[in-house]
Amino acid sequence: MLTAIGLKSEEDLIAYLPADVRFDKRLAIENGKSEYEIVDYFKQRAAQNANGYPSFLGAGVYNHYRPVLVDTVVSRGEFLTSYTPYQAEISQGTLTTIFEFQSMVCQLTGMEVANASMYDGSSAVPEAAMMGVRVTRRDKVLVARTVHPEYREVLQTYTKHQGIPVIELGYTKKGLLDLDDLKRNLDGEVAALIIQTPNFFGILEQLEEISGIVSQNGTLLGVVFTEAVALGLIEPPAQADIVVGELQSFAISPSYGGPYAGIIATREKYIRQLPGRLVGETTDADGHRAFCLTLATREQHIRREKATSNICTNQALLALMATVFMTVYGKEGLRELAEQNLAKAHYLASKLELEFESPFFNEFVARTDTRSPQRINDALAEQKIVGGLALGRFYPELKHCMLLCATEMSKRQDMDTLAAAFGPKHTQ
């Protein structure tokens, strides 16, 4: 090969680089390791973690069972080792699964169009806000404090330099968006209101009332979800103009925070304002049904600085995991799965005192009395159980509270142990 190029050694390939740019030392990285050593290293790291503990954490990341088929499908090299499907003729596998994904996201959310997925739920929120700003040509955004706190932080980071003021709205004693606060802050400058349901406290927001208030003002309603399994049971947010959410619950492992798959879905009339990849149906030269990436004129590689976003990837493989998950559970199974989650969470809740009295799905806020959330979690850790999220970190006024989640994976015995850790009166 060197002869074909006319060189004597590989070093000649870089000989022309100016000496003052070349790094002529050795990288201070240990010599290459064998496969066995690499596997062993990561096993050791895993052993430093809470390995195999039952967990009652939710708060945007949920512990659901992953059907075996999911890993079987995504381990196929044809899905795993392919690129973004620009070359439609040899990417119909990926394109077809994305089309199915987009269709199922629409069915799930009650929206008319969905894109091929986003990085995650959190970064989909500012994309929804910016979309609201483009559609309404207004510049202010309202967001409920019952939206995931980290999602709100991401929204602030994105909007800060684009001249989009973001105002946070309070919540009531029932753990719901404060409608009076909403009305007070709603004016002709408000492009979008962003709420979450089930909200960060696990509670279902009053969608109809909220949508009635904002639609009169010409403000778009953006609805966020973090627990996709809820959509198997609860009424989809059809009143929304934009729905964004996180599909981690659909067979994507918690993986210490990522990678996940976000979604963004909207009404047909806003399709040209959607960020990200979109797959459409068409035909090939023989007239057969085929799929391809479409409406690329919204995107950065065509529009450059005039694009709807700088996004140039979706999360195809994770979207595929969610697609296989939705296929395995299907119409009956997603409902049954959601009902099991509801039953488990309500069993656990029945043993504890709740901070808010409102309808909840599989998460709720429990009040602690004599023992602090930290002390309860420490005690549980000694019994190899991961407790809930101490809420004081995000809501100082709720420092006596803990956000707990139960799923189909939660065993009755572990729930009883958890309740007992709250104090003697919770052991029944």
Partner: protein
């Protein structure tokens, strides 16, 4: 002559929704060990939906066949060379997949106590350290989810730094050879974009740059090696021009596969850069994600890194949220951890010397392809190539055959096409990046195919123009797809289904 492939039978398959029939199921849930709850009572009747209309109902074997059949309609690295320029489609080692599934890592919850997450934090720290060494920068954040997300993070930091100096300034300079994400990113951070025209060697023109670098300019986004695969030999001078004006230099690290172990951007004057872990560090593209866009910075930008940052306290790691100058959060939690595990496994397998060797092999493969194809295709620039080479379709265009047609014909020869019509500064560009993981045999087959297509373009252009001929799906009508978008399945009346 087509050597790499021959025809074989491909299975047809309808959409899931067309495959469904009522009552079929492929799951089994455990029996409830707690009392069932009536959803209407618990949630209120108005909050409960009916079963999801149109959702799939298939058996387990139908599900596995469905996705297996669809998978066979894809091309993939596992099937052969994937020479997309700028995309770095190298082999994805399977041990990386295995370790990313290690239970205590894959099922670690981001909010479990730090005492119970030390293994994950150690992985993050180890990768940060390795990437700091590779880039020669001072610190690394692993938060961004993708390259474009990394660009956003980096430009936000530039803005934050300039704000503390009293003036965020107005413009970002972007060479006309840049990826489209660069200008789109600058806009998202509130900057306008000034395009810098490349010189006749495909490089940044120093005179043009000096004129453009005014007091209004916050920074320059530069890709090095640039998108024609050429090292910006004046990179030090470029950085000093910007620094003299109080501006910063962002390096798009999409092409870092050409530099690992031989050039460290931190030693060139680069202030901030991103790395695509899904390119240089072999994590799988997965049909378009997940990626990870690690960002490396010099000391001047360290205070502005996104939240949270790892901090060592005695024998343990902590997440530090107390960073008053930080740009804030760019996403929830701590980054695409599962991708980070894979990238660290790649670095461990290679070691420092192996990484450098991989770079040299990538350069060798690209230059070998260049040498073989140069007699048949027009080289866009004579400057030495690094990890990729760029040709123009000028000779073939005389026969009406364009880069997009050659690409489609390449499919018949059993290869995925190269990158088509990019960079924009080359007329009818063919951008080819073989990567280091290809064998000479595969490269020779590819070169033979390209040479054969060049001959076909001369002798039988129609053959090329109507390609691909042997795929399950023929050339796809993308124009109609965009004009009349159908982006979800809806039930069809019986009559039109029959016509399908």
């Amino acid at each position: 002559m087509i050597k790499k492939v021959s025809k074989h039978i491909v299975q047809n398959e309808p959409l899931l929704f067309e495959l469904s029939s009522p009552g079929k199921r492929g799951y089994q849930l455990p029996e409830l060990d707690v009392p069932a709850v009536n959803p209407m009572e618990a949630l209120g009747a108005r909050n409960v939906r009916s079963k999801i209309d149109g959702f799939p109902e298939v058996s387990e074997i139908e599900a596995i066949r469905h996705f297996t059949r669809l998978s066979t309609w894809n091309y993939a690295i596992d099937l052969g060379l994937y020479p997309l320029g700028s995309c770095t489609m190298k082999y994805n080692p399977r041990v990386n997949e295995l370790v990313a599934r290690t239970e205590g890592l894959a099922w670690a919850h981001p909010y479990q106590a730090e005492e119970l997450s030390q293994g994950c934090m150690e992985v993050v720290a180890a990768l940060e350290q390795a990437l700091t060494e590779i880039t020669g920068m001072d610190a690394v954040t692993l938060q961004p989810a993708a390259g474009a997300h990394g660009e956003f993070t980096g430009i936000l930091m530039i803005r934050a730094l300039l704000e503390t100096r009293g003036n965020p300034r107005k413009k970002i300079l972007v060479p006309d050879s840049a990826h489209g994400t660069n200008p789109a990113t600058a806009m998202m951070v509130g900057y306008s974009v000034a395009n810098i025209k490349s010189n006749d060697r495909g490089m940044v023109d120093l005179e043009v740059l000096e004129r453009a670098a005014t007091e209004d300019v916050a920074g320059l986004m530069i890709t090095n090696p640039n998108t024609v695969g050429v090292f910006e030999e004046n990179i030090r001078k470029i950085c000093s021009i910007m620094h003299d004006k109080g501006a910063l230099v962002y390096m798009d690290g999409a092409n870092m596969n050409a530099l690992v172990g031989i050039v460290r951007p931190g030693e060139l004057g680069i202030d901030v850069m991103h790395l695509n872990l899904h390119k240089t560090f072999s994590t799988p593209h997965g049909g378009g994600g997940p990626g990870s866009g690690a960002v490396a910075v010099r000391d001047v930008l360290t205070p502005f890194l996104p939240l949270p940052r790892l901090k060592r306290e005695g024998a343990r790691w902590r997440w530090n949220y107390d960073l008053p100058n930080s740009i804030g959060r760019v996403r929830a939690f701590y980054g695409n951890f599962g991708v980070l595990v894979r990238a660290l496994a790649y670095i461990m397998a290679h070691g420092g010397n192996g990484l450098r060797q991989a770079t040299l092999d990538a350069l060798l493969n690209a230059n070998y392809i260049r040498a073989l194809l140069e007699p048949y295709y027009e080289l866009a620039y004579r400057a030495p190539s690094m990890h990729e080479c760029v040709f123009s379709d000028d000779p073939q265009a005389k026969r009406g055959v364009r880069t997009g047609d050659i690409a489609k014909r390449l499919i018949d020869y059993g290869f995925h096409p190269y990158t088509v019509s990019f960079p924009l500064i080359v007329r009818g560009a063919l951008m080819i990046e073989p990567t280091e993981t290809e064998s000479k045999r595969e490269l020779d087959l590819f070169a033979d195919a390209m040479i054969s297509i060049a001959q076909e373009a001369e002798e039988n252009p129609d053959l090329v123009l109507k390609a691909p001929h042997s795929t399950r799906t023929r050339r796809v009508d993308e124009v109609t797809a965009a004009r009349r978008p159908i982006v979800r399945w809806t039930p069809q009346p019986k009559a039109s289904q029959a016509a399908d």
